[in-house]
Point group: C2
Chain length 465, copies 2
């Protein structure tokens, strides 16, 4: 025991990943030997997030057992870090009282998220048991749309009045800190609960005890509305380097606060959505690797189907050119090269534009300049690749007219692809659609269909068919 305890309490001596792995295997070994006292002891100095991960790594039958070893306070903290499928499984294992203890003590925003995922039957049962205040707060948060500031905010902040002195405020923090999620900012409100200023704990500790909130508060308050999009909230916190941002309703009354740790999670979910969309996979903010195969297929088949149709159209066009293909079969060999390169140039342009739109990087440039820049880049890339393709095609086939047709088509296709790739994201955004989701199918369609037409037209002209 001494050795393991030692390792667990000196996490600096090994990497955190090894530590978590160690805790998991210690826990498993001790539980298998039914040494519950030992299992309890090794968990004492471990961070809640690490305990949660150790529990997640245990066989299912042991998870509830391990969870029961924790003290009530610890259990609540650990529970919030667990994956939602394990949260649900645990809820089903527990007695009514245990469940209530946990759910009642979760922070309201986390509770609202949990209720979202639970079967309606369980939510109804829990709802009946929650204290009226707790339910009210949860219901309030659940009333807001998913993905909006109202849903993410916690009502557990500390508000003060302009007339409070520094020492009064510190006293208030002492009283309220245990049940507040954020104490690093104090929110100053007037009698109508309207937000008028913010005092940071930093301002507070460096001010004299008798100064009032009115004297030390910042009045240029940056706030969001309950219906502000979560992505926008994340951008604001990121932009101003805040630890939290206050949420106000339509009458400027303070109703909650969103903290920076939630923002990091939002950014990750939004990024995953964007990356999936660019890769042609629909995402609903959950974990892809925990959904079943049919859901996986459903989320991927739509995009594949669109491309299948596109390709059929391309195929039809190729087929309609049977006459020229039968005369110069070698033309067919370069179709994948042309549509492939065109698709890739288009994907590059749309990737940088979509990412630029999401990170505000292209704010200062505007659509016209960006598209013009991409058109020039496309021309440059087209000339480089077209030259290489011409040489290559000639060396390969020894047919100069075909080689020239391939090279010059590539220049035209590269320009077409970069213009389509950079302009369509702007178009979709101005129509209120998600550029990441919409751009790829349309770009591929445009580039494939038009690209093949360009190729055959140029080939006919050059070959005189």
């Amino acid at each position: 025991m001494t050795e393991t305890n030692n390792l667990a309490s000196n996490p600096q001596t090994s990497s955190r990943r090894e530590l978590r792995e160690l805790v998991r295997s210690q826990l498993k070994a001790l539980l298998e030997q039914s040494d519950f006292k030992g299992a309890k002891a090794i968990l004492v100095p471990v961070q809640p997030a690490d305990i949660a991960e150790a529990i997640e790594g245990l066989p299912e039958a042991m998870q509830a057992l391990a969870f029961r070893l924790l003290s009530k306070d610890e259990a609540i903290e650990v529970y919030e870090y667990l994956d939602s499928t394990i949260q649900q499984a645990l809820l089903e294992e527990f007695k009514r009282q245990e469940v209530l203890d946990i759910v009642e003590n979760m922070s309201p925003d986390d509770r609202a998220r949990l209720f979202d995922e639970l079967p309606a039957k369980i939510v109804r049962r829990l709802r009946a048991e929650l204290s009226p205040t707790e339910w009210q707060v949860t219901a309030l948060l659940m009333g807001y749309e998913t993905g909006k500031a109202g849903r993410l905010m916690t009502p557990e902040y500390i508000s003060i009045k302009q007339t409070y002195t520094v020492s009064e405020t510190l006293e208030r923090i002492r009283t309220l800190a245990p049940e507040s999620e954020i104490i690093y900012y104090l929110y100053v409100t007037d009698n109508a609960r309207r937000l008028t200023g913010i005092v940071s704990l930093r301002d507070l500790v460096i001010s004299r005890p008798e100064q009032t909130a009115a004297e030390i508060m910042t009045t240029d308050v940056v706030s969001v509305h309950t219906d502000t999009n979560q992505e926008e909230v994340a951008r604001i916190i990121q932009r101003y380097d805040f630890l939290a941002v206050p949420v106000v309703d339509s009458e400027q009354r303070l109703v909650g606060v969103i903290t920076v740790d939630d923002v990091i999670d939002i950014l990750e979910v939004e990024t995953t959505k964007d990356i999936y969309a660019l890769g042609g996979v629909q995402s609903e903010g959950d974990n892809y690797f925990q959904t079943n195969l049919l859901t996986v297929a459903r989320r991927r088949v739509v995009w594949l189907f669109v491309l299948l149709v596109t390709n059929t159209v391309t195929g039809t066009i190729i087929n309609s050119q049977k006459d020229i293909l039968q005369q110069v079969v070698v033309l067919a060999a370069f179709i994948p090269l042309l549509t492939g390169t065109g698709g890739n140039v288009g994907a590059q342009s749309s990737t940088v534009v979509i990412r630029g739109l999401n990170t505000d990087q292209i704010r200062l440039l505007g659509p016209a300049l960006v598209i013009w820049r991409e058109a020039k880049a496309g021309a440059l890339l087209g000339v480089i690749l077209g030259t290489m393709a011409t040489v290559w095609a000639y060396l390969l086939q020894g047919n100069l007219p075909v080689a020239i047709a391939v090279g010059s088509s590539l220049v035209a296709i590269a320009i077409l692809a970069s213009v389509a790739g950079s302009s369509l994201p702007f178009l979709f955004r101005s129509l209120g659609l998600d550029p990441a989701l919409m751009s790829a199918p349309f770009i591929t369609t445009a580039v494939d269909v038009l690209g093949v037409l360009i190729y055959f037209t140029i080939a006919r002209v050059i070959l005189g068919i």
Copy 2:
């Protein structure tokens, strides 16, 4: 003036974006009229990040002018938010003393980043003028590799000893707060400067004045090393919901702290790199839209060139099948459909696996399970799409053997593509290469070349050629 002033000081009444646009146009109008007093007045209640953006939006000639309107303290804050190209341009405009005031007052981590971007000549000049302590701190940070914790950390934290009481610590915070970047955590060190515990400002304000740091500190300290990768640092802060993480050297001595606002920026840069890599664009962490066209072309042409070669190989294979193509020209029409769909299925699999590797989502599953899952998903998708493709091909061409060859090839190609798409990222990671950067070319090559071979083999068998 009253109306504009009113708008600027009540930011809640309009969205922040409109506000920033307004400030920029007000500023421009006032500067054009040489109304410097007015310009100064409208900036007073505006957040530094917003002032920086307003300045960035001005014509170049006005930027230095607008910047000079700010008070010294404001100027320093605003400067840190400016884009690095504008930071450099401003430095060249300023007199020696102005530059020194700004640079000397920047936080050391931001200064190290600025020096990184400046021409060596300017850095040498500034270096000579900085106070010895300031230079020492900057040089220390610049000694660490870019992208490592050592480079990101700020040495401006507050450390305390175990024996300090709560009231002594609060007194120390009061003295040191003005020059500390983070005061929400106090770091407890022993006589050898080794990190032994952390006290949060929250713990501090809720404890009794006579309690000692030893009594209230957390001893399970999560720290990173100076050579920890920035992505890892970001993951740790995200995982534990920290506001900052301490950085220690190889002897466990505390050398700095990394704050959550830096982490959000890291995550954004890393995400952009990943998204660009998936889209086939090389990224070096700078702003794509501010690099010149040649750099843009260079970063995109490598990937396009690889695909050109791949496509040439595919083309050669198609060409080697001239005999069958000349007999059944219609076969050529389905090549784009097959390679296109294969490429898309492969891209989907690699997208989810690469994102999963970067977010630790697939930690609990392991490579074998993930690849097996993808193979099944590929088979399922292949059967759905293959059936559709068969029907379609038959309706379009009325040639049943060709239709069956297309459909059955699609099943094989979908399985091949998902296995390649899911296994290659694991392979590249185990070789120490970036999966996002390496996967796409290899997957495309494998799917295109093998896909076409599969198609012709199946077609030959079915058609008996």
